[in-house]
Each structure stands twice: as structure tokens, then as C-alpha cells.
């Protein structure tokens, strides 16, 4: 493996709902703060690594190029990476390999997100994350997939929602000690979370992290440079990342296998064999409260299905046996997507240096892990960090007097909705681009089948899996497929949600019931659709359902030719 790489500086903006600053200015504030924290100027930076999640938030195409000067990258080697919500932690991985490859000695890693530019609601940027042919016509919103995953997780392990809500309480309370936090709250209780509005059952308002603007930056350096520039480098001991199949409806959402894969990669590199003993502080990704628990299990810090109980028992509290999200996490500090991930890396850096101020975990943590997650419940990014020689068999650096942290009071100017709209230069601009996607061979035939009220799947000749949605290749065997079979349009509900809001958070008069339906005869499930002719209270995981087709003259070769799925049990139908 390449030479050692350290984090030697970190800085961030305040996380706010609507920032007065532009994306470039946010990136600059964070970059400047990170450089100041290690007394560097841009002259000392050889390359810049940037990340930012969807371009649609900022309303700027090629956002990486646009942000370059704000991120200190003018006339420097500069690459923007992204892996959805996993991006923030990934940019530290990018920084690691940029230095470890010998291409740069000192790099600046910057993560920026300005979600407030996206109107009328930043959730609009997520409408286009869904499959262009199979899912977007159903009108899905982002809450659906979280609700579907949370429901599956709760069902698989028989979890109590009170235990999950304990995470939201812990993180919002922790965030009250973070000077950059948007939603710190010392007096929030589990009952408050359980009494908050139901958005898409089982997701309630206080289970969710806030929409935010913000930026974070860190400085990373080679071993030689780190020794020269700081007396307390924090080493990147391990990095891992892993992306699962696009076909999220084909996997069991109860457990994030890709997070485990990423963790195994990072732990292997860091020489970690017993993560529960060797990790002293963790920043798992927590855009929703259940996600922190899901990820703690994927990180192998708790047994499957056991993290909620541990959270409720205080094991993950700041003064617990394994402090998790001492920063306050996304639920408390805020969730400017990519920036929130890098905030976790910065928090581990501050914790391991003993600079986390009121957030400092007790004892002298030597090893920490930061993790982020993203895409269609699909990607895991993991960074393991250690204080000097921590975990490598050497002696830990003696604890130093804690400094107030972050070293600079984080900046960013929060605007109210009306100030935001009336700010000088504020202007509305629609993004009215148009696309016509070629469905291609496999999906073209599948859609033609729907027009005939037939569900077509493909079968791989090697692994013999029956694939729905069908594809012209098997992603596991990586061979072409040309064996088509028709499946009976019946199946069972794998997971479901009762959704009460539209994508822009307007209440729905009649709730929608999105569900992942596992079709009989398919090897690994089926696809996303809506349930109809069913009372929300009657729907259960495992319920048998059947397709209801549009009338032949109304069908047009679309996923909507299948109007919805309804209960097969007549007694459960409303119509």
C-alpha cells in the first residue's frame, strides 16, 4: 500500500436552511477555515479534490467547474468526484489516493452543497434520481424509498419505533453543542419525535434531517508533509467504498451489505480485526434516524437488528461505550448532502485531536470511523482514522489541552424565506430541459409486454436467476441474456409505505401506498409500484397482490399500463 496520509486541518461553514452566500462563497469560507486551521495558504496546496451532490440543487450544470475558484482550485489539478450521498466521505478517500499515489503532497478536499437554490422545494432535485422508464412515471418522491427501507428494517427485526426515535433525540441534543448546527435542541424527547407529523409511514418529520446549505473542507498531507506541518496529524488508516446494483427492488432492504463491503475494505487496510474493540468513536451516516442504526450494523459495530436497542440503552451516547455521532450528525447539525459527509470526517479529526470542545467524547479515543451512504440505497463510503500511531501497536500521543472547536467560529448567513426571495439579484430560472431516453433492447421488450398485459422477465443461462426488471445482461455473471419468460402478474408485498405528502411537502388528501412487489417466479423480487383498492390500515408485508391493468385501448407501453397492484384477498379490497 502507498505511503501514509494524514488529515492536518479542517474547517466548515455554519449549516443553515437558506444561506445568503453563493455556493462558491460557502466553499471559500470552509476552504479558508481549513487552511487557517493548519496555517497554510493556497501556495502550499498541490491539488484540490471536490465533491457536491446533484447539480440540480445549485441549478448549475458542471457544478465542479463552477465551484473551482471558491474551492481554491484555480490553476491547480482539480477533480470533482461524486457517489450521491456517499460523496462527502468519498472526497476524503479521493484526497487519500491523490496523496498516496504520489501525485500530490498536500491536498485540499472540499464538499459543498447549496440546496436552497432548488425551487419550489429541494426535494425536486430528487425526482430525477429514479429510473427514467420504470419509476419516474409513478411520481415517486424521496421519502418513499426511505420509508420502504425503514419499514423493511423494522419488519425484519421486529423493531420498536421508540428505539429508533432515540437516535433523533440523541443527535439533536448532541448538536446543541455544535457551533455550526442548524437543529440542535437540548430538550427534545422520544415522545416529541413520535408525535411529529407522519410524512410517509413509518417516517415522521423528526425522523428526518433538515434541508441545508453549507460546506466543509479538510487538508490532507503525505507523511513527510504532515510531520512538517503539524505536531498532531490524524492518519487515514483505511478507506473503503462499495456500490451495489441499481436494481434496489431486487435486494433485501433490511441490511446494507454494501456498507459492510466498504467497511471490510477499510478495516482490512487499517488492520482492524475486531471493530467493536478497536473503534472508539463513530460518525455513521444519519440522514434519517433509522439509517444511523442500519449503518452501525453494516459497519459491524452491532449485530444485525441490535443497534436500536443499544441506542435506546445509551450505548451510543456521547458518554456511552461507543459514542456515535457526537457531532450531532445530519439530524442535528444539518444535511447539506456532500458537506454533511465530510463534516463527519472533520468531526473524527477533531475528536481524535481532542479539539471537539463541548462535544469531546470522554477518554482518549485513538480510532474513529466516518461513514456515508447514498444513491438508491446502494453505496457505502468508509474512512477509518487514527491518532498518531493509534491502533498500530505504538503509543498514543499524550492528550493535549483541548482547544475551542471548531478553531474558528463557523460562518454563513441564514436568511428567512422572504429575505431569500427578496435578496438583491435573486432570480427564478426554470430548468426546462427535455430528454427522450432510448428504452433499449431489454426494457423496450418489457414495455411492449406490458402493453399486452404481460410481465416479461429474463433468465440468465449461467446462474439461472430470473431477472425482473429484465435486462439484456446478467450483472452477476456479466454475460448477455436472451432467454425471455412471462411471469404471472401476482406477488407479495416486500415492503410498503403510507405516504401523506407530495414531493414538495404538500399534504395529500388521499394517501398513496407505494410498495416493492416481489413477483412470483422472479429470483430476487420485482419492482416499485403503487397499491390500490386497499385500505392503508390493512396492508401488511407479505400480503398477496395482483396486477390491475389499464384497459387495452389505454395502454401505451409504459409502466403505467399496469395501473396498480391490489390485494388478492377479496375481503381486503375496498372496491
Amino acid at each position: 500500500m502507498g505511503s501514509r496520509v494524514a488529515v492536518i486541518g479542517a474547517g466548515m461553514t455554519r449549516f443553515v436552511r437558506r444561506a445568503q452566500e453563493t455556493g462558491k462563497e460557502l466553499a471559500w469560507i470552509a476552504s479558508r477555515a481549513a487552511l487557517d486551521s493548519c496555517e497554510l495558504t493556497l501556495d502550499g496546496i498541490d491539488a484540490v479534490c471536490l465533491t457536491s451532490a446533484p447539480d440540480a440543487f445549485d441549478g448549475v450544470h458542471r457544478k465542479g467547474d463552477y465551484l473551482a475558484d471558491g474551492a481554491g482550485a484555480w490553476a491547480k489539478p482539480y477533480i470533482r468526484t461524486y457517489v450521491g450521498g456517499g460523496s462527502g466521505v468519498f472526497t476524503a478517500i479521493q484526497g487519500w489516493y491523490t496523496v498516496a499515489s504520489g501525485m500530490a503532497d498536500v491536498v485540499l478536499c472540499v464538499a459543498e452543497e447549496k440546496m436552497s437554490s432548488c425551487q419550489p422545494h429541494p426535494q425536486g432535485a430528487f425526482l430525477t434520481i429514479f429510473d427514467n422508464i420504470l419509476e419516474r412515471p409513478l411520481g415517486p418522491n424521496l421519502l418513499w424509498i426511505f420509508a420502504l427501507e425503514m419499514q423493511r428494517y423494522m419488519h425484519a427485526y421486529g423493531l420498536d419505533k421508540r428505539d429508533i426515535a432515540a437516535v433523533a433525540v440523541k443527535n439533536k441534543r448532541n448538536a446543541a453543542d455544535h457551533p455550526a448546527a442548524l437543529l440542535g435542541q437540548t430538550d427534545i424527547t422520544v415522545d416529541d419525535v413520535l408525535a411529529s407529523d407522519v410524512l410517509a409511514w413509518p417516517v415522521q418529520r423528526l425522523d428526518v434531517s433538515p434541508i441545508s446549505d453549507g460546506a466543509v473542507a479538510i487538508v490532507m498531507a503525505s507523511e513527510d508533509a504532515a510531520r512538517r506541518l503539524t505536531d498532531r496529524p490524524v492518519w487515514v488508516d483505511g478507506v473503503g467504498w462499495n456500490l451495489d446494483s441499481t436494481y434496489w427492488t431486487n435486494r433485501d432492504l433490511a441490511y446494507p451489505e454494501y456498507v459492510e463491503n466498504a467497511a471490510r475494505m477499510a478495516y482490512g487496510m487499517a488492520g482492524i480485526t475486531e471493530p467493536r474493540k478497536q473503534i472508539h468513536v463513530a460518525e455513521p451516516y444519519d440522514p434519517f434516524d433509522y439509517k444511523e442504526l442500519h449503518h452501525l450494523e453494516g459497519l459491524m459495530l452491532f449485530d444485525k437488528g441490535k443497534a436500536p436497542e443499544a441506542a435506546a440503552d445509551g450505548v451510543t451516547a456521547r458518554d456511552g461505550d461507543l459514542p456515535c455521532c457526537p457531532s450531532g450528525g445530519l439530524l442535528g447539525v444539518g444535511n447539506p448532502i456532500a458537506a454533511a459527509g465530510l463534516m463527519k470526517v472533520a468531526e473524527i479529526y477533531w475528536q481524535l485531536r481532542g479539539e471537539a470542545g463541548a462535544r469531546q467524547v470522554p477518554g482518549t479515543p485513538e480510532r474513529g470511523v466516518a461513514q456515508a451512504w447514498g444513491d438508491l440505497m446502494q453505496v457505502g463510503t468508509v474512512v477509518v482514522m487514527g491518532a498518531d500511531e493509534g491502533g498500530r501497536g505504538g503509543s498514543a500521543t499524550p492528550p493535549q489541552a483541548p482547544r475551542a472547536t471548531p478553531p474558528q467560529a463557523p460562518r454563513a448567513t441564514a436568511l428567512s424565506e422572504s429575505e431569500f426571495r427578496l435578496a438583491p439579484g435573486a432570480r427564478d430560472e426554470p430548468f426546462d430541459a427535455a430528454y427522450e431516453w432510448d428504452a433499449g433492447e431489454a426494457m423496450g421488450r418489457f414495455l411492449a409486454g406490458l402493453e399486452e398485459a404481460t410481465l416479461l422477465a429474463t433468465r440468465c443461462s449461467r446462474c439461472e436467476r430470473v431477472l425482473l426488471p429484465p435486462r439484456m445482461f446478467c450483472e452477476r455473471c456479466f454475460l448477455p441474456i436472451d432467454d425471455w419468460i412471462a411471469l404471472e402478474p401476482i406477488g407479495i408485498v416486500e415492503t410498503f409505505s403510507i405516504c401523506h405528502v407530495t414531493w414538495d411537502m404538500q399534504p395529500l388528501v388521499e394517501p398513496q401506498i407505494p410498495a416493492v412487489v416481489r413477483i412470483d417466479g422472479a429470483s430476487e423480487g420485482g419492482f416499485l409500484h403503487l397499491l390500490g383498492e386497499a385500505r392503508p390500515g390493512d396492508v401488511t408485508i407479505g400480503m398477496e397482490v395482483e396486477a390491475v391493468w389499464k384497459r387495452p385501448e389505454e395502454r401505451e407501453g409504459s409502466i403505467l399500463d399496469l395501473a396498480f397492484f391490489r390485494p388478492r384477498d377479496l375481503a381486503l379490497r375496498t372496491a
Binding site: G59, R62, A68, V83, S101, G102, D244, A433, A442, R476
Partner: protein
């Protein structure tokens, strides 16, 4: 000691004005299969890391990296997306291998530009929202502005630019990927004066996949070594950049040559960005290759088409083929991210 890195497999698909029978996933699958067969690697067990190059708004999908793993054989593997041109992806693969975290890396870039109905709207969103967009100018105007300034300062002529286009189409004869080689209009329609239609590459669909490996994993076959990579950019804002020089190409070439331990005079063949004819000249000037004879023997983007984020890998593919065919021992591939960017990358490759 950092390992030397080689290109051990290449594959491509498309390279046509439109590819209506294939989805972008199927286009990628086809190119990947060829690349893996060419490199004799099994993606499911022998490729350690995957790098894709794409921009959300060019795909019409937010967080597009969601949609890449299956068709590349990359499910449950380390996959990352670079929001940039394919040659930046190649540089990333080199870094991954040199860092020791991967021995074999696949790099993918594609264009499914025929899916985008409103290119102008998309491109416009790459302009500064406060200063530039209200002016309501097309991004193509930037090329016209830059070309005029470049000709003024460099002393190059419009005739030289027109000759680049003609020469590219001649050179492209025999290149199966050059779907625009014979597409010459009777009237050379003005775009943004002095830029005309014949001097501009036309949009095409296509995908290129390359497999890179460390020296110890590249045994056998006929490796093409990637001995130097560089990437850089000038100011992102239109108001601050140098309008005559391709500063990004100067800087990235300097880094790439230095890492390869070579001088511009050592270069025997070049495949450089020619999204616009003047760009080819400007890029050669920037890299100190203005006297080089063998430039864009493939016919370049002017003949193969404008493949958006896949432009750089298309140039690298042409270079690998020329080196493999023994046409040269040392060559360079160069890319520019296209309008309105001022960023680009360079790779120096050698054979033997």
C-alpha cells in the same frame, strides 16, 4: 516505489449520430465486454475498482452514478464517478493503481447525447447564474469569442482552421468510428463568427471503456504504458480566464511530460481535442507540439463526433491503437471538457 501503469484492454461501442436500439446501459455493456475481452480480465473477480465519468444534467438523471454498476460488472465493487471528461477518469485510475489500493481498474465514459432533446438549455446551465445567464447568449458564442482572440494573439489564420477540418476528414478514411468523416455540407453555415459549422464537431453517441493495470498485473499481451498524466484548469469564470491561450493544456501537459520524464520533442504522435478546429491548433500550441506532424490520425472529434464526457477517452483509444499498431512508440492524448469550461487533461503513453 510506485508501480508503472499500463492500458491492457480497450473497448468501444456506438460512435454514431444516434443509437436508438440501445439504452445507455446497453451501450456501456457492449463497450465493457469488448474491453474486458481485449484485456482478458473477468470484471467480477479481477477488476479491483471502477471509475465512471458523467454529468447528471447530460444524462437527465440526478445522481447518475446510481445507474452504472450493473452493465460494467461492477455490482458490489468499489465504483466512483468523476464529474468530468474521461481522461480525468484515466488519471484517477492511474492514481488508484499507484496508491496501491487497486491493481486493475476499469474506466468508462460515454455519450448518449441523442437522448438529450434540448442541448442548448442544458449547456446554458453551465454558465454563471448571476453574471452570464441573464445575457441570454448561447455557450457556442464563447467559442467564437475565444477563437477570435486566439487567432488575433497567435497569428494563426482562419484558413489554417478550415484546413484542420479538411485534413481531419481525409485522415479519417478507414476509421470505422468516424461516422462524420464524409459529412461535409455544401454551405459552411456560420455559427459564431469566425466559427463555422465545418469547424465544429457534431454530437454523437458512443462509449469507451479502458482497463488499466499495474506492471505486475499487466504481464503478457501488448501493454501501452501510461507514463505521465496531468490535469488542470484555468479560471472558471469567463471574466477571469485567458481568452487566447489554453492554460489548462499548458499546465496539464507540463505535469504529464514531467512525470513521464519526456519533452515535447520526444512525442511522435498526438491525439488532441478538436471539438472545434481552432482548439486543435490552440492545444498543440499549448503543449509545445505545434511542429508535430502526426496529429489526430484518427480524424479526431471532427470526424468521430463530439462525444461529450467521452471525448478524452476517444482520443486515448485512438492513441492506444496507434501505439499498438507500431505506428509510434511515444504519444500523447489530450482532452478539453468543452464549453464553457477551461479544464483539461493530458496522458503521455509509450509502447515497449
Amino acid at each position: 516505489m510506485k508501480p508503472r501503469v499500463a492500458v491492457v484492454g480497450v473497448g468501444w461501442s456506438g460512435f454514431a449520430p444516434a443509437t436508438p436500439s440501445l439504452s445507455y446501459k446497453e451501450l456501456m455493456f457492449e463497450a465493457a465486454r469488448y474491453a474486458y475481452a481485449d484485456g482478458a480480465v473477468d470484471p467480477r473477480s479481477e477488476i479491483d475498482s471502477f471509475v465512471c465519468c458523467s454529468e447528471d444534467l447530460e444524462e437527465g438523471t440526478s445522481i447518475f452514478d446510481e445507474y452504472v454498476p450493473d452493465q460494467l460488472g461492477a455490482v458490489q465493487r468499489p465504483v466512483q464517478t468523476i464529474a468530468s471528461d474521461g481522461l480525468f477518469g484515466l488519471a484517477t485510475a492511474v492514481m488508484l493503481i499507484r496508491s496501491g489500493i487497486a491493481g486493475v481498474v476499469a474506466v468508462e465514459a460515454h455519450s448518449k447525447a441523442s437522448d438529450v432533446v434540448s442541448h442548448g438549455r442544458v449547456a446554458r446551465f453551465a454558465l454563471d447564474p448571476v453574471l452570464n445567464r441573464p445575457l441570454d447568449i448561447s455557450v457556442l458564442a464563447i467559442a467564437g469569442l475565444e477563437m477570435r482572440r486566439y487567432l488575433e494573439v497567435s497569428g494563426r489564420s482562419l484558413e489554417e482552421c478550415l484546413a484542420v477540418g479538411e485534413r481531419s476528414r481525409e485522415l479519417a478514411r478507414g476509421n470505422v468510428r468516424a461516422s462524420y468523416a464524409s459529412a461535409v455540407d455544401d454551405d459552411d453555415e456560420p455559427l459564431f463568427d469566425p466559427l463555422t459549422r465545418r469547424q465544429a464537431a457534431r454530437s454523437a453517441d458512443g462509449c469507451v471503456v479502458m482497463v488499466l493495470a499495474s506492471a505486475d498485473r499487466a504481464s503478457g499481451g501488448d501493454p501501452v504504458w501510461v507514463d505521465g498524466v496531468g490535469w488542470s484548469q484555468d479560471a472558471p469564470s469567463l471574466e477571469s480566464r485567458d481568452w487566447a491561450r489554453a492554460v489548462y493544456a499548458e499546465r496539464s501537459a507540463r505535469s504529464a511530460f514531467e512525470r513521464a520524464g519526456l519533452e515535447p520533442r520526444d512525442i511522435q504522435v498526438a491525439e488532441v481535442d478538436d471539438t472545434f478546429a481552432y482548439k486543435q491548433l490552440q492545444h498543440l500550441d499549448a503543449m509545445g507540439l505545434d511542429r508535430l506532424e502526426h496529429v489526430n490520425r484518427s480524424g479526431g472529434a471532427l470526424s468521430e463526433g463530439h462525444l461529450h464526457e467521452a471525448n478524452g477517452l476517444a482520443r486515448a483509444l485512438a492513441l492506444v491503437e496507434q501505439l499498438r499498431a507500431g505506428e509510434a512508440d511515444v504519444g500523447v492524448a489530450q482532452s478539453w471538457r468543452g464549453l464553457p469550461s477551461a479544464s483539461g487533461a493530458v496522458a503521455v503513453m509509450t509502447r515497449g
